[in-house]
């Protein structure tokens, strides 16, 4: 590492500090708004010091809901939190499970059609949900899966990225592992359970972070796949609350839900920063 002169070092820190403050600014303002009584949010300009309504606002957000969520039958963010959690955990588990099995087959077996199946999985990379949105909606609707958890999860439950990551990881494992397993008389599924699965913890941790964030933050698909409030995810609940004109929205509740909606993913990404960074920059996508 080349040592900087003192002015250069100060310049570096000053710029980064200012940059970080700008990045934090919208989140900070959202938090302040979530701590104020609604009337204070409409004061021009809104104050930039947190207020004393944190408990009330978050209580209302979690258990009562607000305007735009359907009057007396409004749902609180607790229901939405649960739905978001079910959806993203479902996506993570499904993606990891099916990719692990199929990549195991593709890497550790030789069989007719191996390349074909790999390309079939590869093709999903070119079919993000945005591209197949209308026919997918019709299909899920024909299957009667609108307003259901399988309907929310299944169209997003496959990942070429996971297959690539596992494949890359499996290819670096020494052949002796299989040979040893064979000599010991272990069948493929025994090998899968006792050797491959425990050794795949690293790519799995990476996928958990990246795919959880992906699932949690989904918007377009749940927007179409849920019409019943009981299935709203946090993102859908938030956007429904803002369908009203912006000077009428329950901003104190909206902002409390916005903060609640970002806490799980931020904690996950920061707690597993190393796996996250490695997964993002090292996957041969």
């Amino acid at each position: 590492m080349v040592t900087d002169s003192t002015p250069t070092r100060i310049f570096r820190h000053a710029c980064l500090l200012i940059g970080c403050l700008i990045i934090i600014f919208p989140v900070y303002v959202a938090f302040v708004a979530s701590s104020l009584p609604l009337a204070d949010i409409f004061a021009r300009p809104m104050q930039l010091a947190p207020g004393g309504e944190v408990f009330n606002n978050y209580y209302q957000a979690l258990f009562v809901g607000g305007r735009g969520l359907g009057g007396a039958r409004a749902i609180g963010a607790l229901v939405m939190l649960r739905n978001s959690l079910i959806m993203s955990v479902g996506i993570v588990v499904s993606k990891i499970a099916v990719s692990l099995l199929s990549t195991f087959a593709i890497v550790f077996f030789k069989f007719p059609g191996r390349s074909f199946f790999f390309w079939l999985i590869f093709i999903t990379l070119m079919l993000p949900v945005e591209v197949r949105i209308v026919p997918t909606y019709r299909l899920v609707s024909d299957l009667g899966m609108i307003n259901s958890y399988p309907g929310l999860i299944l169209p997003l439950a496959v990942s070429a990225t996971a297959t690539f990551l596992f494949k890359q990881y499996f290819m670096t494992m020494p052949d002796q592992l299989i040979e040893a397993a064979k000599i010991d008389g272990a069948g493929p599924m025994r090998f899968f359970r006792s050797i491959l699965l425990p050794m795949s913890r690293t790519p799995m941790a990476t996928l958990v972070v990246i795919q959880f964030v992906y699932g949690w933050n989904q918007y377009l698909w749940p927007l179409l796949a849920t019409t019943d409030r009981a299935y709203y995810t946090l993102m859908i609940g938030l956007s429904r609350m803002l369908v009203v004109a912006d000077h009428q929205a329950d901003w104190h509740v909206v902002m409390a839900i916005a903060i609640l909606a970002m806490i799980p993913t931020i904690i996950l990404v920061l707690a597993m920063q190393k796996q996250f960074v490695r997964g993002l920059t090292e996957v041969d996508k």
């Binding site: 191996r114 199946f117 993000p128 169209p155 496959v158 290819m171 956007s239 920059t281 996508k285």
Partner: protein, 294 residues
């Protein structure tokens, strides 16, 4: 041929069994809808799905003859260029600053956090800051004499979606630039320093050229991101308006397919969008060297 292990298991049926769950999901939820879009794009159907006539490429002809659709292609491209340009410049600057700092972890933590924030939440927060009715930034701009109303002024709406999308996207670019910089050997930079190069000279003469594979990779990834993953931001901030200034291709598909129930046209648009993804993915895999060794 796809690479596999040289030592393999010999079971004949097991691999197919292992592939079944993924293949079933792919066929039902990916291949089937995509082929439906392909077929549908050749038919015209009324909004209730009762009659259906084969019209050949007529849906494509109509879509591409619609100036509003062509405009949405240009909007998507302009949007992608703006987001890619802004985020790459800022991320490069941050990464160059952070690269030579021993304890950059705290900065890195803050810079990557927005990646975890949902695009919709980002849209909600920036909407709140710039809302003509309650936003403190729109208030600030107004007190400085600038009228801010992105619901009326197309340029302001475009700026706002670029801002919200970029805020999120800096994280991704920053991580790649920083990773790219960290594999540049110290010896290169040190020898330049001994030759009397300033930090700025070192950056432009050594670091930046060596990062060009990363830059190219990020350019493609940012285009894919802006084309396909910014729907929530647009839906929340501008709903494609005003005057379609922020109606990207994905936004139009949503509007035509679900609000106007024009299935033939929206299927044709899906197919065109598929062509764009295929183009990007081919670029990404054919021309991008991810592991660069110096």
């Amino acid at each position: 041929m796809i690479s596999g292990k040289s030592v393999v298991f010999r079971e004949k049926k097991l691999p197919y069994l292992l592939l079944t769950p993924e293949v079933v999901l792919v066929l039902i939820f990916f291949i089937w809808p995509a082929s439906q879009a392909l077929v549908q794009s050749l038919y015209r159907e009324d909004a209730w799905g009762i009659t259906r006539n084969f019209v050949g490429l007529d849906n494509f002809r109509r879509v591409l003859a619609d100036p509003r659709y062509v405009e949405s292609i240009w909007t998507s491209i302009a949007f992608a260029i703006a987001v890619a340009g802004a985020t790459m410049l800022i991320a490069l600057f941050f990464a160059a600053l952070a690269n030579n700092i021993r304890k950059a972890t705290a900065y890195q933590t803050v810079i990557i956090a927005p990646y975890a924030v949902a695009p919709l939440v980002a849209g909600v927060m920036w909407f709140f800051l710039f809302s003509p009715a309650v936003g403190i930034l729109s208030y600030g701009l107004r007190s400085m004499g600038m009228m801010w109303n992105h619901t009326i002024v197309p340029g302001q709406a475009f700026f706002l979606v670029v801002l919200a999308a970029s805020w999120q996207r800096i994280a991704y670019n920053f991580l790649f630039y920083l990773a790219g910089m960290q594999i540049i050997p110290d010896s290169l930079v040190e020898s330049a320093t001994i030759d009397g190069a300033t930090p700025v000279q070192r950056f432009w003469k050594i670091t930046f050229p060596l990062l060009s594979p990363t830059t190219f990779f990020l350019l493609i990834m940012n285009f894919i991101y802006t084309f396909f993953e910014t729907f929530p931001v647009i839906h929340q901030l501008t709903e494609g308006g005003p005057a379609n200034a922020t109606a990207t291709m994905v936004y139009r598909i949503y509007r035509e397919g679900f609000r106007q129930l024009n299935f033939g046209s929206s299927a044709a648009q899906s197919v065109i969008l598929m062509a764009f993804v295929i183009f990007f993915v081919v670029l990404q895999f054919r021309y991008v060297e991810r592991r660069v060794v110096y």
